[in-house]
Every structure is written in structure tokens, then in C-alpha cells.
């Protein structure tokens, strides 16, 4: 059992209404130091067996097509999560 984390963010040039709304809320709540917010996705994939290079390669491939919408998003990171190894329900 291993856990692989895939981080996906909107491409920088793409409008992010969600992030804007969060930034606005943070300001109203007085968190002035935050100048901008972008909201993306974090996927946690449980793989059975080891997170071998081959498995990671597979996941990278899947990430670029399925987890991220290549028109709008970039996969910013694919990495093995060593703490949270136990599967979550």
C-alpha cells in the first residue's frame, strides 16, 4: 500500500473566479497580507504494492489526461506520500 499525491492547478493565465472569491473573503476577514489566491485540486491515489517508478510513470500519464484538463490545468506535482500510507476509506 502506497499513497501517491497529484497536485493540479489552473494554468497561471487562466481566470480563477474561485481563488478571487477566496482572496476577497480573506481580505474582509482581515487577512491583509494575502495578495492573491489560486485554487487547485489535490488527488490522493492509493496504489496497492509499491509506488515503483513504473507505477509513478503510469500515474503521471493518467494525471496529464484524466486528473487534469490539459486545456485549463497543469499537473504541478506527482509525489509519493510516505506518512499517510494507510488507505483512507
Amino acid at each position: 500500500m502506497a499513497r501517491v499525491v497529484v497536485d493540479v492547478m489552473l494554468k497561471p493565465e487562466i481566470l480563477d473566479p474561485q481563488g478571487q472569491a477566496v482572496a476577497g473573503a480573506l481580505h474582509r476577514l482581515g487577512y491583509a497580507s494575502v495578495t492573491a489566491v489560486r485554487q487547485g485540486k489535490r488527488f490522493e491515489l492509493e496504489v496497492d504494492g509499491e509506488a515503483t517508478d513504473e507505477v509513478l510513470a503510469q500515474i503521471r500519464e493518467a494525471a496529464g489526461t484524466l486528473l487534469a484538463n490539459p486545456v485549463l490545468e497543469d499537473v504541478v506535482d506527482v509525489s509519493v506520500d510516505h506518512e499517510g500510507a494507510e488507505a483512507s476509506a
Binding site: 473566479p17 472569491a21 477566496v22 476577497g24 473573503a25 485554487q39
Partner: protein, 232 residues
Amino acid sequence: MRIGVVTFPGSLDDRDALRAVRTAGGEAVALWHGDADLHGVDAVVLPGGFSYGDYLRCGAIARFAPVMGTVVDAANGGLPVLGICNGFQMLCEAHLLPGALVRNDHRKFGCRDQALAIERTDTPWTAQYERGERVVVPLKNGEGGFVADERTLDELEAEGRVVARYLDGNPNGSYRDIAGVSNPRGNVVGLMPHPEHATEAGFGPDPRTGTDGLDGLRFFTSVLASLTGTAA
């Protein structure tokens, strides 16, 4: 009796809630999210819609609006508060009600005439319904799945705080078919379906449902009656 309906940026069914209050014979008072003053209303409706675009989480940003502080205090003081759809989501985000609402299990926005069983009738909003009565009102949302941990769910059941449950199949994956819940005292009610859209014949649920399309009206007449009752 004066019933306030709060408009947030992105509220959609606010004018419908105001209309329903008038149809029920109450005085409808439009309240504004930025104004912490409730202008002496006797009850408050948090209407449906997509406040702040439902960005981040439904109701998560609206919950911090100036008016919400006052609503929370007044609710804790016993003021009748009804949260419909997005309003329900706000009440959960504000922790006036337990649990939370998540994406429908089918991952689509769903708009349908929904059959419900009214299970708690000792709230100011449901007093005029029979316990277990079957009603049909529109359900329309993308994030209507009611979730909470097992302990909370058992507690809600044990204390009889489930106000309404879905009938004829679960439309969105809500735990234990829950469509609406209340606080222990019963003055704060959150409901995913839209009673305000079943208050005028011909503009609500389809005749196909076998109802006259007016099943939602008693949420509003109930609160007016209970208010005059207490006022008397």
C-alpha cells in the same frame, strides 16, 4: 408579522421567498447581507441561490457576511430561522446546524419535483404539517448531499431533529435520506428542497406529481401562526 429574507451577492430565490411570505399573508422584508440590522423582523429566511458563486464551498463565504452575526445571535435567542438550499448550507457553515452539504453523488445539478416526508412538526416552520405527511416540492441543486458523522446522525435521529426525509429514492446521496434538519430547540430549520417554489398553483411542481403544487405554503403559514400565537 414581518418576515425578513436576506439577499446575499448571488442569492437567486430571494424574490421567490419574499413572494411566498406575502402569499402566506405575512409582511415580507428584504434584508441585505451587508447590513447587520435585522430591522425588527419576527423571523428570517436565508434563501436559495449561489451566494458568492458557491465558490470554495456553498455558503462558506456568505457565512461571514455582517448580517450573519446578528442572525446567529438572534437564532440562539429563539428567532425562527429557515435556511433553504443555499441558506441551509450557510446555517451548516455557521454551525447553527450540524453536518454539511456536499456534491450530489451523481455529480450533476439536479432539478426535480421531490417527494418528502415531514418528520418534525413541533418547529415554527412545520407546525401545520401532519407528522409523516407526504409533500412534493422542487429540489434543485448541485451540492445537496447531507453528510455528518455517525454519532451526529444518531443524535439527530434520537432527538427527533430530522425535519424532512426524501421519499421514493434518494436523489443526491444524503446520509439516511435526510432532506432537512433543525437545531435542538426547533426554531432553526435547514431544508435542501424549495418550499417557496410550491406556493402558487401553476408555477411549482407539475400536476404529474398528483399534488396541487401548494405543498410548500405551510412552511410560511406555520411560522406566521406560531408567531401570532406567541405574540397573543
